[in-house]
């Protein structure tokens, strides 16, 4: 087992360590929701609407109920009467939502009935026998059409298709536009895609009528999941027990199967049998409600000839689909970095969230920041092109300087720390930028299209739901906490307990490393377990790149309390002051008198067995909890919409080299460097891993992935044959160069990194393709940039020549 020294003077933090999670996965002993066997388990299959918009006239279930192995067929009529609507975060109380449609269907793929049978296969057989009579209605899939007066309404009771429309003006926007020497305007489009984990959403529920507890095992990554489940099922919160020790096969934001869970929970109680739903891939893609942002940005930049960006106007229209879900808030989180890493003094931001008859969106990695970064970085490149200025020089001019931190942006967030210029320099050196330019130019000489793409982007991290009151002032909420319990048992073994699920981020490794660092005990011997929602301390789950900060901080806090307790026990027994003691590796001795010492084992024994030797006011046993609010959290927005959204800011710069065959219009990424600064890395392998993965996600969004819809509102890329996930042959070898500007707000100076790579990759790849096309005078500002899009763009040049 190889372990290197940590670069920050820590023993374990920052050093290469194997993860605790690895061993079970390599032997096939992960414990995913679909792996959990429950005696008498029944299986669910769904009946889905084929229409994008329709009235449900009737549903006949007789034939399905009579089919072999079928126990029940549930429709919206019963389900919606006995459960409450899922919560609506925006101010749109009529936009109610249930797992099953009642009276109307609003997107193709919406679930209309659920069949419960002895096996999934039998449930699917029976689902085909459910007869639904529909009256198709007009539908709309384009958001700007949906905003028009003549548009069909997705939720007529709401009165319009717009569920959110704000106009924020931060700083002297019109003044700056008036003073600026130049302006440019364009539209950047981020088409609908998502992070699509390989594991679909799965949930099993079992109701115990004696204890009145609903047990839930799910592939979940979601704050307030037990609470929302309980509420929708009209149960008290402590009637729901979510088992967080279920391994989640990737989530990256989307595993928020609250509708699946309420459905399965209801069925489990109704039938008195354990019930499980594993989305198959067709259900997942079309009806799982896990699509991501589907957004156009109308960007207007005001700038001077020397490259100073004075102001930006951003109008972002997002097509959230048929229900609100969490998606509208993905227009709010980017307010936390609305000007990117740049010194721009005035911003106008107009977010519009629009309902259409598409599949509803869910939270996706970055929560809207990656599309926003893409729009910002295309803006930077266009400004550079306009001014005939080098793109790197333009960025260097506008990037916030290292000596300007902490730096407060016009929308109210303060960037904690950073040194953007140094990271950019490191990345340029790592890719040998001058040589790369020569390579590009040589490729162009040889007849290829070749381009270098740059992005410099922020990853706001730490999580917080300040965008909720920002976008919906009626929703005053400012708590965003996390916690950890650390216990040392009678044998002296250390256990850390976290209160939420993990989906590959290595939280067990994180907690054991932090606790081991504080207690000076080997992390390899520290066990980390996941509590269930009844015995967990409060958590807001791994969203918004928050766990290194929040769980790491909580683990450190709990470990420090234990360390203090050990020292207090020692002081009491050695009859001296705490200040005279030295703590080393879990043993405590009198400074200068090493034989006056109490070992770890002795201290543990006193705590557990020798109350007569305990100092007054210290509880017996050896455990500590730590629950804390996100740093800089707790504040509501001002009346003009200024608020600190997330506490910490990681930074990434991507430099990408792309070649395009001009005849076939096929792009190929040839070189890729990412400069990354997330403060102190607790486990570098884990951080790098998520960064590589984020870049792969970003390459997918930039070139391959698109939930496409036809004129009938049908999803036409609903399988892996048409929705294209990059393989090892599409993702290039990536070089990451690290930099560290510690955060002043966190325990070890760590910032979050769960969204790393994804937030800057699409922008850089798009910029690289555009750099390749620039000599021909054409550009493409819509993602994904498919082969066809490149060819059609290239075709414009030959047409113009005629």
């Amino acid at each position: 087992m190889s372990e290197a020294k940590s670069p920050h003077g820590y023993r374990y933090i920052g050093a290469k360590r194997r993860t605790k999670e690895g061993p079970r996965f390599v032997i096939g002993r992960g414990r995913y929701a679909a792996d959990i066997a429950l005696p008498g388990l029944k299986h669910v299959a769904l009946v889905a609407s084929p229409h994008a918009s329709a009235r449900i006239l009737s549903i006949r279930t007789d034939a399905a109920r009579a089919a072999p192995g079928v126990h029940y067929v549930l429709t919206g009529e019963e389900f919606c009467a006995h459960t409450d609507s899922l919560p609506i975060g925006v101010d749109a109380p009529k936009v109610t939502r249930w797992a099953l449609a009642r009276d109307r269907v609003r997107y193709a793929g919406e679930w209309v009935a659920a069949v419960v049978a002895d096996s999934r296969a039998l449930a699917e057989d029976a689902a085909e026998l459910v007869e639904v009579e529909y009256e198709p209605l007009p539908h709309v899939t384009d958001p700007e059409q949906a905003m028009g007066d003549d548009s069909p309404l997705v939720h007529p009771a709401h009165g319009s298709n717009v569920i959110l429309h704000r106009n924020f003006v931060w700083g002297p926007v019109e003044d700056e536009f008036a003073k600026a020497e130049h302006q440019l305007a364009f539209r950047a489009v981020w088409s609908r895609n998502a992070t699509v984990p390989i594991e679909t959403f799965a949930v099993a529920a079992q109701w115990n009528p004696a204890t009145e507890i609903l047990d839930i095992w799910a592939s979940i990554q979601m704050p307030k999941y037990p609470d929302q489940t309980a509420k929708a099922l009209r149960l008290p919160g402590n009637a729901v027990r979510v088992h967080y020790d279920v391994d989640v096969g990737g989530s990256y934001g989307v595993k928020r199967g609250i509708k699946h869970t309420v459905l399965v929970g209801y069925l489990a109680r109704r039938l008195g049998q354990p019930v499980r739903l594993i989305e198959d891939r067709l259900e997942n893609m079309r009806g799982g409600d896990m699509h991501g942002p589907d957004r156009s940005f109308d960007m207007t930049a005001a700038f001077d000839r020397d490259g100073t960006i004075r102001a930006l106007k951003i109008r972002a229209i997002d097509n959230v689909g048929a229900y609100a879900g969490r998606a509208p808030f993905q227009l709010g989180k980017p307010v936390s970095a609305i000007c990117g890493p740049y010194r721009i003094g005035a911003i106008a931001y107009e977010p519009v969230s629009v309902l259409t008859n598409k599949t509803p969106q869910e939270a996706v990695r970055g929560f809207g920041q990656s599309p926003t970064n893409f729009a910002l970085e295309r803006t930077m490149d266009r400004v550079a092109q306009f001014l005939n200025m080098d793109r790197i020089a333009l960025r260097q001019k506008n990037l916030i300087r290292a000596d300007e931190f902490p730096y407060t942006i016009p929308s109210g967030s303060t960037y904690d720390s950073g040194d953007y210029h140094s990271v950019l320099d490191k990345a340029l050196a790592a890719i040998d930028y001058p040589a790369l330019v020569r390579r590009r130019d040589a490729a162009r000489q040889a007849g290829l299209l070749a381009g270098i793409g740059i992005s410099t982007c922020l990853e706001p991290s730490g999580g917080n739901s300040a965008f909720e009151p920002l976008l919906n002032p009626k929703n005053e909420t400012t708590t965003w906490m996390d916690s950890c319990l650390v216990r040392i048992d009678l044998s002296g073994a250390i256990t850390g307990i976290m209160g939420t699920s993990s989906s590959g981020q290595g939280h067990e490794t994180l907690v054991s490393t932090v606790v081991g660092e504080i207690l000076e005990r080997d992390p390899a011997q520290i066990r980390v377990i996941h509590a269930d929602s009844l015995n967990a301390l409060p958590s807001n789950s791994p969203v918004g790149s928050r766990m290194a900060i929040m769980l790491g901080g909580a683990a450190a806090g709990a470990a420090r309390r234990i360390k203090d307790t050990l020292i207090a026990i020692a002081a009491h027994n050695l009859e001296c002051a705490k200040e005279d003691l030295e703590y080393r590796d879990g043993n405590v001795s009198l400074k200068g008198v090493p034989e006056k010492r109490l070992s770890w084992d002795q201290l543990v024994e006193i705590a557990h067995r020798k109350f007569h030797q305990m100092p007054p006011d210290i509880e017996p046993g050896l455990q500590a909890t730590f629950v804390w609010e996100v740093p800089t959290g707790g504040g509501l927005p001002t009346s003009d919409g200024r608020v600190q959204i997330y506490p910490c800011y990681a930074f990434e710069t991507h430099i990408v080299y792309v070649e395009i065959d001009p005849e076939t219009a096929t792009p190929s990424i040839k070189q890729y460097v990412c400069g990354h600064d997330c403060g102190v890395m607790i486990n570098p392998d884990i951080v790098h891993g998520m960064t590589y993965g984020g870049i792969a996600h970003g390459i997918g969004a930039a070139l391959y992935e698109h939930f496409t819809y036809d004129d009938n509102g049908q999803l036409t890329s609903g399988t892996f044959m048409d929705y294209l996930l990059p393989s090892a042959l599409e993702v290039p070898t990536i070089t990451i160069v690290d930099h560290c500007t510690p955060s002043p707000l966190t325990t070890f100076g760590q910032k979050g990194s769960g969204e790393a790579g994804y937030l800057g990759a699409p922008a850089a790849v798009a910029n690289a393709v555009n750099d390749a096309l620039a000599p021909l005078g054409v550009e493409v500002n819509t993602l994904p940039i498919s082969h066809l899009a490149i060819w059609e763009t290239l075709s414009k040049t030959t047409q113009d020549d005629k």
Binding site: A121, R281, L282, T664, A665, T708, L729, S786, H787, L788
Partner: protein, 292 residues
Amino acid sequence: MKSPPFEYARAASLEEACGLLHQHGDAAKLIAGGQSLVPMMAFRLLRPSWLIDINEIAALKFVAFETDAVRMGACTRQCVVARDDALAARVPLLRQALAFVGHTQTRNRGTVGGSLAHADPSAELPLVAQILEARLVLRAQSGTRTLPAAEFFAGPMMTNLRAEECLEEIHWPVWRGRKTGSAFTEISRRHGDFAMVAAAAQIAVDDDGRCTRVTFGVGGAAPTPTAFPELARSLVGQTLDKAKTQAVAHEAAAMLEPDSDIHASAAYRRHLAGVLISRVLLEAYDAAGSLQ
């Protein structure tokens, strides 16, 4: 995505398979590698009452070298064909095409006959069969018949295989010319994906570099893989260069009326056809000329 229910029979011999096909007619389908069939079952697009498994019929898994052809059993695995050096020396296009077929797992299970019988218009092996004018031996309980590839492929996912017939063998013509070169290329969104457009060519030249025999075609641009025998014949007796291949390719592409889908428009496919045909002609020609 569980398959609909069906009955299963594992045929121990081709006779048995044909007997079952005769018995069940349209209600039965043969299953070989399953790489194309099983997804259709999972999507419930196919609902045969019977699946007749021909994977275990040893007589369908062989590669035999004859003077002018290679005889291949229909259930020969794609990976076996790809690895066979002696086969690659005789029918090089097979190995070249298989490099683009799916991934390792696909080729370990998929069969040559299965790909041909599935007849996806953008599939690689049907294109090779089409331009090499392979001959397909079809067996039924009532007897055997042989079809040239051009009469076998009928449309997208459609062949002239009758309900009671099983593809038994494929005969791949071997070009005996000393200076023979071939090339296969395709453009797909990702490695291993269905081709948007594929192109293949095989050319034999004499010692002066003049074509003595030419064949080429495209896949993914028409309801079936498409060869251009007349245009190919027009190149016989000529030396080739980029200008010539581009001219021929342009003419060939203009004859095509490809489909549009979310990955490629008809215009883009036609454009790709022109580009790729020229490339494979040139590559095959250069490969032929470089031999001694």
